[in-house]
């Protein structure tokens, strides 16, 4: 019998003293410790080379840490994979499969019965507004639509934890804003735990409860900043002074990380 307190003590994602050294010898991450609570939306923000994508790959179990430990719901990332969905930077759709076949891929790999699979896929396509392109092939879709398919594919297996690796980086600003709003809508309905990697301050502020700013060379946590904006958040939030203020505050922090880094490298040369 586990007491309620003990259950709470197990963070949804617990990263403790994690370092990652690549085979080339480069140190990607040094001594990262952070806990993500159940239902929390956390963004990992930082300049390129800060290891934010590597951190996400570690949480998903796609790579292993050199030292330290990662637990997802108290078990190893690989054991917890069924609870997680990963959304990649590109839509990474299978070009030979139609939209509905792409969305059903995960269920198919997990041997879900065809009838159940069909129903789940149809419901998911409706949820993200893709029913009208169900039988199209990826190359017939726009970038934003492809990303939507990718999101639908990640959600159809009903994950508890979402890992997103700069999912909207390749999109134009309008599609990006709309997909952000849609992601928030789905998030408030499903209460996932989300780890969101981005290099866009505006995106991180709009979506997150908490932003973790990473510094590069080697990747390490520089700041952990709670976003002080009310919920629920809608598109109108972007027009408020409070939002502008938050974006400015986070931008300053991010710039301080980058300046410190360039000064350090100049010092190194001298």
């Amino acid at each position: 019998m586990v007491s309620p307190k003990a259950q709470n003590a197990v963070a949804e994602v617990a990263i403790d003293g994690v370092s990652k050294q690549f085979r080339s010898g480069a140190l990607a991450l040094r001594n990262i410790s952070m806990h993500v609570e159940k239902g929390e939306f956390v963004s990992l923000l930082g300049p390129s080379g800060c290891g934010k994508s590597t951190l996400l790959k570690l949480v998903s179990g796609l790579t292993q840490p050199t030292s330290g430990a990662i637990k997802v719901k108290g078990i190893t990332p690989v054991q917890a994979r069924e609870l997680m969905s990963f959304i990649f930077q590109d839509a990474t759709l299978l070009p030979w499969r139609t939209v509905e076949q792409n969305v059903g891929l995960g269920l198919e790999l997990e041997h879900t019965a065809r009838q159940i699979r069909k129903e789940k896929v149809a419901r998911m396509l409706e949820l993200v507004g893709l029913t009208h392109v169900a039988t199209r092939f990826p190359r017939q879709l726009s970038g934003g639509m492809k990303m939507r398919v990718s999101i639908a594919r990640a959600l159809v297996s009903r994950p508890r934890i979402l890992l997103l690796d700069e999912p909207f980086a390749a999109l134009d600003e309008m599609s990006r804003d709309r997909l952000n709003e849609e992601l928030l809508r789905l998030y408030t309905e499903h209460h996932w735990t989300v780890l969101f990697v981005t290099h866009s301050v505006a995106e991180a502020v709009f979506l997150s409860k908490r932003i973790v700013i990473l510094a590069p060379h080697p990747g390490r946590i520089a700041h952990v900043v709670p976003v002080e904006l009310p919920w629920p958040r809608t598109a109108e939030l972007r027009l408020t002074p409070a939002y502008e203020h938050e974006v400015a505050r986070i931008s300053r922090l991010l710039r301080s990380v980058q300046t410190a880094q360039s000064e350090a490298s100049e010092g190194g040369i001298a």
């Binding site: 990649f88 198919e108 190359r139």
Partner: protein
């Protein structure tokens, strides 16, 4: 549509000009028929010996098709094994290049000597010449899978077999068809080379290769021309069928097949 019509018409006009030139050159230079027949005697040879010609064509078609089909099955199987075991691939891949560089004309008599006459040794020679392009291209497609797609499959705890058949094999389809396109043309060449060396069960009856040696020995140069023509058309037909299959299977999703008609 209109542009294609004009293109076809222009090509036909060029052909007509060449045939006319050939016809009058033979007459003007007074070349004997057994050295260079004009287009008219060749056409007559086709007409008079049509059953023989079709029979030879059919035999060669069968042998070439058997060799090509066999090379696709065996080549894909080898590629699947190569894609699964990196060490084995590195060990054996160089030897598949030997298949391509060995002069088929030189080993054809050996194969006929070992395997005897008939259609199967001929198909075997077509098979050997077709195999290397299929293996090389398919292996390339199987191993060059985008890393994120692989990660996607891993996130769903996909088995090795699922990765192989739901990711790697479909990913290799465009490469496989490049291999088939290359092999379809040389399958006919392989079969004809085989028939040059394979003896026939009946005098004067055999595949195109056999008929070509026979016709040249008999100085039936007009029929020889007809046979060469048939062989050329057959090679083209194989190539075209390969292109059509590629279009049929890939046009829905692959970037190289955006147009609605085979090019």
């Amino acid at each position: 549509m209109k542009r294609q019509f004009w293109f076809a018409l222009k090509s036909l006009i060029v052909l007509a000009c060449l045939l006319t030139l050939w016809h009058f050159a033979v007459i003007a230079l007074n070349i004997p028929k057994y050295i260079l027949p004009g287009p008219y005697p060749v056409a007559m040879a086709v007409k008079d010996r049509l059953p023989d010609l079709l029979n030879s064509l059919l035999l060669t078609t069968e042998a070439a098709a058997m060799g090509l089909a066999g090379s696709v099955v065996a080549g894909v199987a080898v590629a699947l094994i190569f894609a699964q075991w990196r060490a084995l691939r590195q060990l054996l891949f160089p030897y598949t290049i030997l298949l391509q560089t060995v002069p088929i004309v030189a080993i054809a008599p050996l194969i006929i000597m070992w395997a005897g006459s008939g259609i199967y040794p001929v198909a075997l020679i077509a098979f050997i010449i077709c195999l290397a392009p299929i293996i090389a291209n398919t292996t390339q497609g199987l191993i060059s899978v985008e890393e994120n797609l692989l990660h996607l499959f891993l996130m769903h705890n996909a088995t090795r077999m699922q990765v192989l058949f739901k990711l790697r094999l479909p990913n290799a389809m465009p490469n496989l068809f490049v291999g088939i396109r290359i092999s379809s043309g040389i399958a006919v060449v392989g079969a004809i080379v085989g028939e040059l060396f394979a003896s026939s069960s009946r005098v004067g009856v055999g595949g195109l290769g056999y008929a070509i040696t026979y016709a040249s020995a008999q100085l039936e140069t007009d029929y020889l021309f007809a046979l060469v023509l048939a062989a050329t058309v057959l090679g083209f037909a194989f190539f075209f069928i390969g292109m059509f299959l590629e279009w049929y299977f890939l046009h829905n999703w692959h970037e190289s097949n955006r147009s609605d008609i085979p090019e």
